[in-house]
Symmetry: C2
DNA sequence: CAAGCATATATCCGCTATGCGTATTAGTTA
DNA sequence: TAACTAATACGCATAGCGGATATATGCTTG
């Protein structure tokens, strides 16, 4: 490519009002942990392309709508207004990722508590839960299965999005406060450990985990205890962001 | 907002070919460490808006151009083809971030070696170096200064982009292999430590740093030594990605 | 050419975090 | 009341790290 050609290409693109623009969408990975298994909520496509396959809920970004607002709107529309922690993940912009037209999609991770997950499933019957295979520890795409064990093939590049989301979540689980987004207001240390173990796909050492979490200074003991157990009830804790050590250093909140 | 209204809004946006689309751009934060100080390369705007202020080099994404390809093209056009490690950072999509029109920008971090930084500066005279204030350790926007110490106010939300890039770089510096992108093919342990100290803005313990880096298994001793020193020359090492432990777990490479 | 110097490299020590096992406690159930 | 389960507390060995110190090596200088 000669210098003048690239210069011309630059000038040609300078005022995009006169040229074709890619469409911009947001796709949401709605993640919950029902029964302690990482599960996402998917919509089955009923038309071309990838008819029959399952896709992440998404929608186009309005011309007067911020990215985060678009993600919140899609959450509201597709998941029946269930509350969730939204966090921007990554933007996928391969040219051929959608055969219909050029679509750039900003992927968001939405973390649902067990209650929010159940609520979304109840209010939005079109959503299908898909558990992420525990073998998805390494690299590469991820496989998702329905409750009956049948494989749920994903549409477009959504398997890549799910894989990236899981990697990112695992990476920041121990250093940020995202884990609490999957728990109710009050929770026990065992529940917190269950969340970590479910996402990491490994077993964790109990005393070490307790010490680490308590030393972080993010846990506030409430003096209350769980009820209805057939064994010694555990104390309930509350998440309290630590002002000295920000809970999410690399977190989004860009705008 | 009633259910039917949001349904209508959804339908209205369903075929974006008929509706206005945001423009999509990429902005590059070209970062080098000349003289051991984190420095970025900026273009001074000569027209409205933010005339006179400095901005990150950027460009619009072509309709048949992948995001990563657009970032590589902007690097080529604006930095004279200097080699750099490109990595997608975050996508900024506030509605009013550009007063002319709706522009969503995908921010990329480009890491330049000392040689590449000098080369870019030589080949692209329009680029102005701006050192990032060392006080930018905490949150919030970042302040950038010219060589003569004058403040360089940034245009648009670019101070936010720079701040986020720095945070992300600091966060993954010790766990990924990005640090090597700022060093030449062969380097000494002292140079590697200088890179880490410059980015983190702190002093590091030398023996501990050496041990940590050597134990990672990413460093291959070459048996060669630096020359021209007036003291004992240090051994030169080479970066060798470790197959067992991936060097960049949460790295981009999405598509 | 020998002494001095600056920095790389190696070794040692103490503190802290962590893995892991074990004892104790507090509820429920038989 | 005894057995059982899981929470909580404690003890201990090990690994990693901050920090200081000692040794090695090449250049400079008188």
């Amino acid at each position: 490519m000669s210098r003048t050609e690239s210069e011309a290409a630059f000038l040609a693109r300078y005022d995009p009002a006169d040229y074709a623009r890619p469409a911009v969408a947001v796709d949401l990975m709605l993640l919950g942990l029902p029964g302690g298994r990482p599960t996402i909520l998917l919509l089955q496509r009923d038309r071309h392309p990838h008819a029959g396959r399952h896709a992440l809920p998404g929608g186009f970004v309005g011309i007067d709508e911020a990215l985060d607002a678009a993600a919140a709107r899609v959450l509201h529309e597709k998941a029946g207004g269930a509350r969730a922690h939204l966090e921007q993940l990554y933007t996928f912009g391969a040219v051929e990722r959608d055969p219909r037209m050029r679509i750039i999609t900003v992927a968001y991770l939405a973390l649902l508590t067990e209650a929010a997950f159940a609520e979304a499933l109840a209010r939005a019957p079109a959503l299908h839960p898909g558990t992420i295979a525990a073998s998805s520890a390494g690299e590469g795409p991820v496989t998702v299965h329905a409750i009956d064990g049948a494989a749920l093939p994903l549409a477009f590049d959504h398997a890549e999005i799910v894989a990236l989301a899981l990697r990112r979540l695992r990476g920041k689980l121990d250093t940020s406060a995202v884990g609490f987004s999957l728990l109710p207001e009050l929770f026990t240390l065992r529940q917190l450990q269950d969340v970590h173990e479910a996402i990491l796909g490994t077993r964790l050492n109990k005393p070490a985990f307790r010490r680490r979490m308590l030393d972080r200074g993010w846990l506030e003991p409430t003096g209350r205890f769980e009820t209805g157990t057939s064994y010694r009830p555990a104390e309930l804790y509350r998440f309290r962001p630590n002002p000295s050590h920000p809970p999410s250093p690399t977190l989004s909140q860009g705008e």
